[in-house]
């Protein structure tokens, strides 16, 4: 069985109709998402802002409560856990977030930030903590003299290394990385991606890698799942999805990326933007922007179907 298995996950948020209105409506942020991540591999979850990729990541980590669905990590039903059981289980699945400065307490040293997990999960005695953290620092490319510095004394790349050390400290099986390199400069981004790749291979962890940058995802991930308006529209091996996308939305996404080496070109992209999840279109959510949409697409929502070579697509036409 997969390390991470997500079935029919749905998350919705209440939206009030206004100050004096009693009417409540729902924003369906994630609607029936299935995902699988194997140990030692990376699944990229991509899409544009508002597509529900970060909410999916948060629901898997139980940082928001799903409305329905099943999440299993290493065979454990994560949604059935509560209280102390859930706290203890958090060791197995750790987040790495985009902006390490806002996820680190500005008054705690780098050592304290990383040692916290060791204390909470009683993984070593307080006397052993310093040695454990120092070894982790060395592994992620930080020096021993960095241990007692405060977050603001580090560069963006170094802060992300602290964030990674903090996640690794409790020896997780699954890392959920939400845009972990988006805030970094290109030259530093490459260092952090290489570090993450090495750590995954050494420790056999599975990664769920949430990102919007198709270049990063293509390089870093084994498989890719593309989200649009709360649903997966395409899933498959990274290189194949990028070089021969099946869903018209994936095609648009990849064509829109100004990939280096394509020369001075203007590409004509269809006008239109992702609709609001407050009023999703009927039928296929992409049909108002789809150049190939037919009458059927406007009324009937396509299901995610398996196709040849381990690929899945949710489209009536492909």
């Amino acid at each position: 069985m997969s390390l991470l298995q997500v079935r029919d996950l749905a998350v919705r948020f209440p939206v009030s109709g206004g100050l004096l209105s009693r009417r409540r409506s729902w924003l369906q942020a994630v609607d029936g998402v299935d995902l699988d991540v194997e140990s030692g591999t990376t699944l990229g979850l991509v899409g544009e802002s508002g597509c529900g990729k970060s909410t999916t990541a948060k629901a898997i980590l139980r940082l928001v409560e799903p409305a329905r669905g099943a999440v299993r990590v290493d065979g454990t039903d994560v949604l059935a856990l509560s209280g102390g059981d859930l706290r203890r289980f958090r060791r197995r699945m750790q987040p790495v977030l985009q902006d390490p400065i806002s996820s680190l307490d500005p008054r705690r040293t780098a050592f304290q930030a990383v040692a916290e997990g060791l204390e909470v999960h009683r993984l070593c005695t307080p006397a052993q903590a310093r040695g454990r953290v120092q070894a982790l620092f060395e592994r992620v490319g930080l020096a021993p003299e960095h241990l007692d510095r405060l977050p603001h004394e580090f560069s963006g790349g170094q802060r992300q290394r602290i964030g990674i050390a903090r996640a690794l400290a409790v020896e997780p099986a699954l890392l959920v990385l939400d845009e972990p390199v988006s805030a970094l400069d290109v030259s530093v981004q490459a260092q952090v991606l290489n570090l993450l790749e090495d750590l995954r291979d050494e420790r056999g962890m599975g990664y769920l890698f949430v990102a919007h940058d198709m270049g990063v995802v293509r390089h870093f991930c084994d498989r890719i799942a593309v989200m649009y308006l709360g649903r997966i529209v395409e899933e498959g091996p990274a290189e194949e999805v990028c070089s021969a996308p099946s869903h018209p939305y994936t095609e648009l996404l990849i064509r829109s990326v100004p990939a280096l080496g394509s020369g001075r070109t203007t590409i004509s992209v269809p006008s239109g933007e992702m609709p609001s999840p407050l009023s999703p279109p009927a039928g296929c959510a992409f049909h108002p922007r789809c150049p190939e949409a037919t009458a059927r697409c406007a009324v009937e929502r396509p299901a995610l179907r398996s196709r040849d070579a381990g690929r899945q697509v949710a489209c009536h036409l492909r």
């Binding site: 560069s155 290109v186 030259s187 260092q191």
Partner: protein, 316 residues
């Protein structure tokens, strides 16, 4: 003669620990209708350069060197003279349109105000022209959109409004500072498309500032790569991207993921981008450079043939 000629421009900001030299002696030229892409990572001085070019540096900033627009020296201009230059001759589009638009003014009022400030137009004609501009930048149902407020528009639509505002006075030079960075990739492609089309129609020159090498390839005729307050390399876009000669440009291009199909480890540049508070000695790239030797640690290289490096890659 070039439209814009920048010579030995330096910009420094005061700080409690002494002056911070954000831009430290850059020179470049921009011809009429030409698009120069200014690329670099955070803190390299690209935005400070743009801010100096439109006379919007904060009061505490010090500039030296020369900025000449069609022969007119801009660095010595008082603020009231700048007001006649900005908009009419030099215009700007920034990353975040929300912070450049007045939240209490409708889209139409923004455009009408700008059109009337720069041309002697009666209100009715200005409104008609404003609708034309909204149509031109691809805003659907432009007449109805005149009464929309900025918060009612998506990020992409707001950036279209900013582009209309920047171009309606008919500037010779558009400074675009990361204009698509905050946008989703499909919307970014639409905006790049729009800018290219408007450049062809209106013929203005563009200084396009970005950290994204893929974006710069799509828009630029020439590219200047900035590092640590200086220009490391400058030349025709296709040549710089295909055969970068400065070790920094080479490293930067190689570290862009997804350029080549997945092939093992991503090449990276060791170390991190230096801070303007603490530039390294000699060539500022030397602590991270794979080919640096003794001279690089002590002497700053001067630009020759578009490359500021003691050991540039030979031209093919």
């Amino acid at each position: 003669m070039s439209l814009l000629s920048v010579r030995d421009l330096r910009v420094s900001f005061g700080s409690p620990s002494g002056p911070v030299h954000a831009v430290d002696g850059i020179s470049f030229r921009l011809g009429e209708g030409e698009v120069l892409g200014l690329v670099g990572e955070s803190g390299c001085g690209k935005s400070a350069t743009a801010t100096a070019l439109c006379g919007l540096l904060p009061a505490g900033a010090r500039t030296s060197g020369s900025i000449s627009l069609s022969g007119q020296e801009l660095t010595v201009l008082p603020e009231d003279a700048w007001r006649r230059i900005r908009g009419r001759r030099v215009s700007m589009v920034f990353q975040d349109p929300m912070s450049s638009l007045n939240p209490l003014m409708s889209v139409g009022d923004h455009l009408v105000e700008t059109l009337r400030a720069h041309g002697d137009l009666p209100a009715r004609e200005a409104r008609a022209e404003a609708v034309q501009w909204l149509r031109r930048v691809g805003i659907p149902d432009p007449a109805a959109r005149m009464s929309s407020f900025p918060h009612e528009l998506s990020g992409g639509m707001r950036q279209r409004v900013m582009i209309a505002l920047a171009l309606c006075p008919g500037p010779d030079l558009l400074l675009a500072d990361e204009p698509t960075t905050a946008l989703d990739v499909t919307i970014q492609a639409q905006i790049l498309d729009l800018l290219a089309r408007l450049r062809d129609e209106l013929g203005m020159a563009m200084l396009f500032i970005t950290h994204d090498l893929g974006v710069v390839e799509r828009v630029a005729d020439r590219i200047a790569v900035m590092y640590a307050g200086g220009i490391a390399e400058e030349g025709p876009a296709a040549a710089v991207l295909a055969r970068p000669r400065h070790p920094y440009s080479r490293g930067l291009l190689a570290s862009v993921p997804g350029f080549h199909p997945r092939a093992g480890r991503l090449p990276s540049i060791p170390g991190s981008v230096p801070s303007p508070r603490d530039w390294p000695s000699g060539c500022r790239f030397h602590p991270r450079c794979p080919v640096a030797d003794g001279i690089c640690t002590t002497a700053a290289p001067t630009a020759a043939d578009g490359v500021a490096c003691h050991h540039p890659e030979a031209t093919a």
